[in-house]
């Protein structure tokens, strides 16, 4: 008996804005000029923040810091498609996402200075504390989405992770549960080509991360992660689909980590200068700027004012951060349980008298 083809699959790739700022108008998401400007301003703000935080780490004013330069479009573009009440379950490279999601910049700095208070989400948004252990946050997103579905809250949940995270069981178990229970979750893989030193090709034998969704019975798409319009459009569609009860989506944002893995890493040991230069040409902010120039949405004075305003916002946040009162040492006991145990009370007494 001849073999039969039971099922055929395809993986789509979405790019709307090319490196020269040329736009495929047919694919262009609905965005007003004001919205495009708002997105541009947020991209610049997050980049200014990233550079400032890096500098502060080098000056000894922050602890280890995780840069996200190159990945701004993944974070800003996706966050623009979410509502405040929606949930995000981010990872450590997502400071730009948190800032777009209204986490006060002073608090983001506070976290990177080694103070948990920086992780506390503002009341009006749902920013779950960033995950440090890779991939472990992905199941939480599925559970939060499951809860949203059962409670009828109409929330969508987005979770963020790198391509390295897709090697871990947490990712696969979460993806499987998401498919089985048809939960309102968007999985956003910021594929920045490296897990510290490990290149994407050695991380997985599949050609794309997007195709991993096929195995779990839902859609996966790869988008140009340095194309803000592609990220936004894919996210917007995935969020609407989820909110309408039509289940999860995996979005692979094909991007690049322009900086080192962390402030303790030296990426020149495992990747060439030429490679970094090639990716720099795809820069998400330059690309949007080229587009905006063609559309007369930007001129030199606007560009300068956006940059200056961003620097001003960040500098004010730094000043605010540096004036924050130190944590009460007793706080280490305060938030373990709703009520302190007798053992903890004794230990606190022993420590503080």
């Amino acid at each position: 008996m001849p073999k039969k083809v039971l099922k055929e699959f395809m993986v789509e790739y979405l790019q709307i804005l090319d490196e020269e700022g040329n736009c495929d108008e047919a694919l262009m998401p609905k965005l007003s000029n004001d919205e495009i400007k708002k997105i541009y301003e947020m991209l610049v703000l997050t980049r200014v923040f990233d550079q400032k935080a890096f500098n502060m780490q080098r000056q000894g004013r922050l602890g280890t810091y995780i840069q996200f330069k190159g990945q701004e479009a993944c974070q800003v573009g996706s966050a623009f498609a979410l509502q405040d009440n929606d949930f995000i379950f981010p990872m450590y490279r997502d400071s730009g996402l948190l800032i777009t999601r209204k986490q006060p910049i002073a608090q983001v700095l506070q976290y990177w200075s080694g103070d948990e208070r920086g992780l506390k989400s503002p009341q009006n948004v749902n920013n779950f504390p960033i995950a440090i252990p890779v991939s472990t946050q992905i199941p939480h997103a599925v559970g939060a989405g499951f809860a949203a579905k059962l409670r009828g809250t109409k929330q969508v949940v987005a979770t963020y992770f790198g391509e390295g995270a897709t090697s871990k069981g947490d990712f696969h178990e979460a993806m499987n549960f998401a498919g089985v229970f048809n939960v309102p979750v968007v999985f956003i893989c910021e594929n920045n080509q490296y897990a510290i030193s490990m290149p994407r090709k050695k991380q997985t034998h599949t050609e794309t991360i997007a195709q991993k969704a096929i195995a779990y019975g839902f859609e996966g798409i790869q988008v140009d992660g340095m194309d803000i319009f592609a990220v936004y459009k894919a996210m917007k569609e995935a969020v609407e689909k989820a909110r309408n009860g039509n289940g999860p989506t995996l979005i692979e944002c094909f991007t690049y980590r322009m900086g080192d893995h962390s402030t303790s890493d030296d990426a020149s040991k495992y990747r060439s200068k030429e490679e970094v230069e090639q990716w720099a040409k795809k820069d998400p902010i330059d690309r949007l700027e080229k587009y905006m120039r063609k559309k007369n949405l930007i001129d030199d004075s606007y560009k300068e004012s956006v940059l200056n305003k961003s620097k001003d916002i960040v500098e004010r946040a730094v000043a605010e951060f540096e004036k924050l009162p130190p944590a009460d040492p007793k706080d280490i006991f305060k938030y373990v349980f709703a009520e302190m145990t007798k053992q903890q009370k004794e230990e606190m007494e022993e420590l503080f008298g």
């Binding site: 504390p129 199941p139 599925v142 559970g143 549960f177 709703a338 903890q344």
Partner: protein, 327 residues
């Protein structure tokens, strides 16, 4: 008059779950085979029929996934009660419990919490397959932010389960599967609570404090019976491993001056070690003899044919008691 129902431990679990599912629509039960099948031990029998597949949820076979998504559910307003089919399979979910469940309140500075219960049958003595008989309670006592509860009879099971489900923090709920059906009790049908963190003085005595939890309580009761009033033994059922009830233990040891601790788990870094440290810190001068541990040896849990060699039995408990009494 309070209506009483005869129940064993498994039935007490089912009654507790039914009571909480009926009381709070945010309570959900999830795990492998918990729905249509009613659980491999029947602990969730009939619950899916009564509350529907959205409240009593059959999940894919993935322990990390079950606990991981339960954490997310708890963060977003549900009260999940996850079942892990056997405690020996908990370790796949250990990372989630350690790195997340116990840290959410702290990491979010109180903005989010994780009111989650993870139930699992635990302990040996049922001639089961490998890794079906683990006693890993001490591992969970070493994780800040997690509570660890082990009932030993039907009354405590229902009362502790209600407390665990209503607790604002994550609770690991280990059910002694060897005595799942061995003990029957009249228990109230209406709700009542057994508080987490409170030990039970199961029998008062003056000569010796015998501290125990889970299925070993039965072994210890048999040992006391066999000793036939030779010593006046105070039997303490710890019930909560973390946060444990130091007060009850210390006041008992101060009274008796002698103590034996019995657990199924292996000796090194077993929970008896922690209790002995507490006795050392708070009741040393009352001791007439060193505290003795009756435990399993530091080897992997053997297969069925040698499990009785591994597990403490009546004779080993008596030997421990005689050692302390004869010091």
């Amino acid at each position: 008059m309070v209506k009483m129902v005869v129940a064993n431990i498994v039935q007490a679990v089912t009654m507790g779950l039914r009571q909480e599912l009926a009381r709070d629509k945010n309570v959900v039960v999830l795990g492998e085979d918990v729905g249509v099948n009613g659980g491999v031990f029947r602990a969730t029998d009939g619950l899916q029929k009564e509350f529907g597949p959205e409240r009593v949820i059959d999940t894919p076979l993935a322990e990390l996934g079950i606990v991981g998504i339960s954490i997310g559910m708890a963060v977003n307003g549900l009260r999940p009660v996850a079942e892990i089919q056997f405690s020996g399979f908990m370790y796949a979910a250990f990372d989630q419990l350690l790195t997340h469940a116990g840290r959410i309140r702290m990491r979010s500075r109180g903005r989010y919490s994780c009111p989650l219960v993870v139930r699992a049958p635990y302990g040996g003595g049922i001639r089961a397959l490998e890794l079906h008989c683990e006693s890993g309670e001490a591992l969970f006592s070493h994780i800040p932010g997690l509570k660890m509860v082990i009932p030993s009879n039907p009354y405590d099971t229902k009362g502790l389960l209600a407390s665990a489900i209503r607790d604002p923090d994550p609770v690991i709920f280990y059910e002694p599967m060897r005595i799942y059906r061995a003990i029957k009790q009249d228990i109230p049908e209406k709700e009542y609570f057994v508080p987490i963190g409170k030990a039970n003085v199961a029998q008062e005595g003056d000569d010796l404090t015998l501290i125990v939890w889970g299925a070993m309580i039965k072994t210890c009761q048999d040992a006391i019976e066999k000793l036939n009033n030779k010593y006046s033994v105070e039997l303490i059922d710890l019930r909560t491993i973390n946060p444990y009830d130091a007060e009850t233990i210390i006041s008992s040891v101060k009274k008796t001056g002698r103590c034996v601790i019995v657990h199924e788990a292996i000796r090194t870094s077993g929970f008896a070690a922690e209790l002995i440290a507490a006795i050392n810190e708070k009741a040393l001068l009352s001791l007439e003899a060193p505290v003795v541990r009756v435990t399993s040896p530091d080897v992997p849990f053997p297969l069925a044919k040698l499990e009785n060699t591994f597990l403490p039995d009546v004779n080993r408990v008596i030997k421990g008691i005689e050692k302390v009494m004869g010091f």
